[in-house]
Amino acid sequence: MRRAPLFLLLVPALAVSAGAGSALQRPLPEGMVRIEGGSYRPLYVQPGETQVQVESFLLDARPVTRGEYEQFLVRHSRWQRGAVPGLFADDGYLRDWESPTSAGETVPKDAPVTHVSWFAARSYCAARGGRLPTTAEWEYVALADERRRDASEADGFLKRVLELTLQRGATRAGAGFRNVWGVYAMHGGVMEWVSDFQSVFAGSDSRVGERREGQLTCAGGATATGDARDYAAFLRYAWRATVDARTTTGSLGFRCAGDLQ
C-alpha cells in the first residue's frame, strides 16, 4: 500500500461548466436529486490549494441502467452497437448485449449499463438535456454516507468504502448504500465516467523520474502527490488516468448530472 504501482500526480479539479443542461429546470428531472454546493479537501492536493469548490448541481440518484440505455437507442440509432465509428467507442462497445437494439434479459434491465465509452455516455446525457458530472462533483458526492455530507473523517468510512469498492458486484443499480443526498451506489457499483477524466494525469513513478515528466507535460512541476489514505479514491483516480475516451469495460458505466438555473 505504501508503494503504489502508479504514482499519481493530481491536482484538484476545477469544475468546468460546459453551459449544458440549461433545459433542466424545476421540478427536478425524474431520477435526479439536488446536490447543494460546498467545498471539500481533495485527495491529491496542488501546492497551496487545499479546498475544491463545487456549485450546486443535479445528479442522477442511480447509474444509468441497461433498460434506459435501450430506450435511448430507439431514438439514437447511431449509437447502436455496430453503427458507432471506432473513433467514438472501442470494439467492446455494448458487447454484452443480446443484439444491437436489445440488452437482453440475461442481466436485469435495472442493472447499470456498462461497456459504454465516454463519448456514448456524454451523448446519452446530452440527449436528456444534461451532462456528465465533473470529477470534482462526483468526488464531492462520494464523500457522503447515510447521515453526513462529508464522512471522510468519520470512523470507519474510508475502510467501508474501500471494502465496497473491492467487492464491486456491479450488477444492481442500487449497490452500496443510499447516501444523505439520496444518491445510490457511489461505492460498490460500477465505476463511472466523469466529464473531465482527461484532466487527471498519470504521472511518472520513481523509475521514470523527473526528466520524462517534464517532457510529457507543460507546468508538470505544478503537481503534487497526496497520501493514499483514501485508497478507494486513489483507485478511481488511477483508472481515470489510464482510460481513453473510446474505452469500454464491463465495470465502467455512468450517471448524468445537470446544471441548476
Partner: protein, 209 residues
C-alpha cells in the same frame, strides 16, 4: 487538390446557409451539447474512415477569425498539437519540433489548437503566429471548452488548468493521414524519429536539401 477545395467549399456553404438538413454521422455520434452543431451539416464527398478525427464537426475560429471545421484539413497529412500561447516552457518546444519537420516535408500541414479559450482569441493566435513566424502551412484554431475537450479526447491529450494563466497538458504531437485518421502519436518532446517515419510513409521520402 481539387477535391480538397470542393470539401472546403461545401463546408463553407453549409455554414453560411445554416444548413438544417440531415446531420452528419459525427453530429449525433459525438453528441455534443452545443447548439451550433445543427448549423453545419456537410455530407463529405467521400465517407470518412471510422477512425477519422475529421468526424468531429465542431466549429473553430482560425487566426483570422474565420470559421473552420477540422474536415477543412482533408487532403494532405497534418501534424496536430494542442497548446496555449501563454505557455512558456513546453509549448514552444512542441512548435519547435513541428517546425523542424516543416522543412523536410513539403506537402504536410501543421495545426495548433488552443486549450485556453479565455485568452487565445483569434487576435491572440494571430499575434502568436506572427511572433513565431508560422507560415501559411500552419492552421491555428481556437474553440469553446467543449470542443477542446472532445478533440483532446480523440487525440489522447490530457490537460488541466492549474492557475489563472497556466495549464498542464500532455505534449502530444499527432500525425493524421490525408483522411484524418491517426497514424502516429509522439508523446514526448524531441522524440521526432517516429513522427518522421510516419510522415515518410504518408508523404514520401524526405526532401533532399
Amino acid at each position: 487538390m481539387m477535391k480538397r477545395l470542393t470539401v472546403s467549399v461545401t463546408v463553407l456553404m453549409a455554414v453560411l446557409a445554416g444548413c438544417t438538413g440531415a446531420p452528419p454521422a459525427a453530429d449525433v455520434v459525438a453528441g455534443d451539447t452545443h447548439a451550433h452543431h445543427d448549423m453545419h451539416a456537410p455530407a463529405p464527398v467521400e465517407p470518412l474512415a471510422g477512425m477519422s478525427v475529421y468526424q468531429l464537426d465542431d466549429v473553430w475560429l482560425d487566426r483570422h477569425g474565420a470559421e473552420r471545421v477540422l474536415a477543412d484539413l482533408r487532403g494532405r497529412p497534418q501534424l496536430i498539437a494542442m497548446v496555449y500561447t501563454n505557455c512558456g516552457s513546453a509549448c514552444p518546444r512542441i512548435v519547435a519540433d513541428m517546425k523542424r519537420l516543416e522543412g523536410e516535408f513539403s506537402d504536410v500541414g501543421f495545426v495548433l489548437v488552443s486549450i485556453d479559450p479565455e485568452r487565445d482569441t483569434p487576435e491572440q493566435l494571430d499575434s502568436f503566429a506572427t511572433a513565431t513566424r508560422l507560415s501559411d502551412r500552419w492552421t491555428v484554431l481556437a474553440g469553446p471548452d467543449e470542443s477542446i475537450a472532445t478533440l483532446a479526447a480523440v487525440l489522447g491529450v490530457r490537460y488541466r488548468q492549474v492557475s489563472a494563466t497556466d495549464f498542464m497538458h500532455s505534449n502530444v504531437i499527432t500525425v493524421l493521414d490525408a483522411g484524418g485518421s491517426i497514424v502516429h502519436r509522439q508523446e514526448a518532446l524531441g522524440e521526432v524519429d517516429g513522427t518522421i517515419a510516419a510522415l515518410q510513409r504518408l508523404a514520401g521520402p524526405v526532401v533532399v536539401r
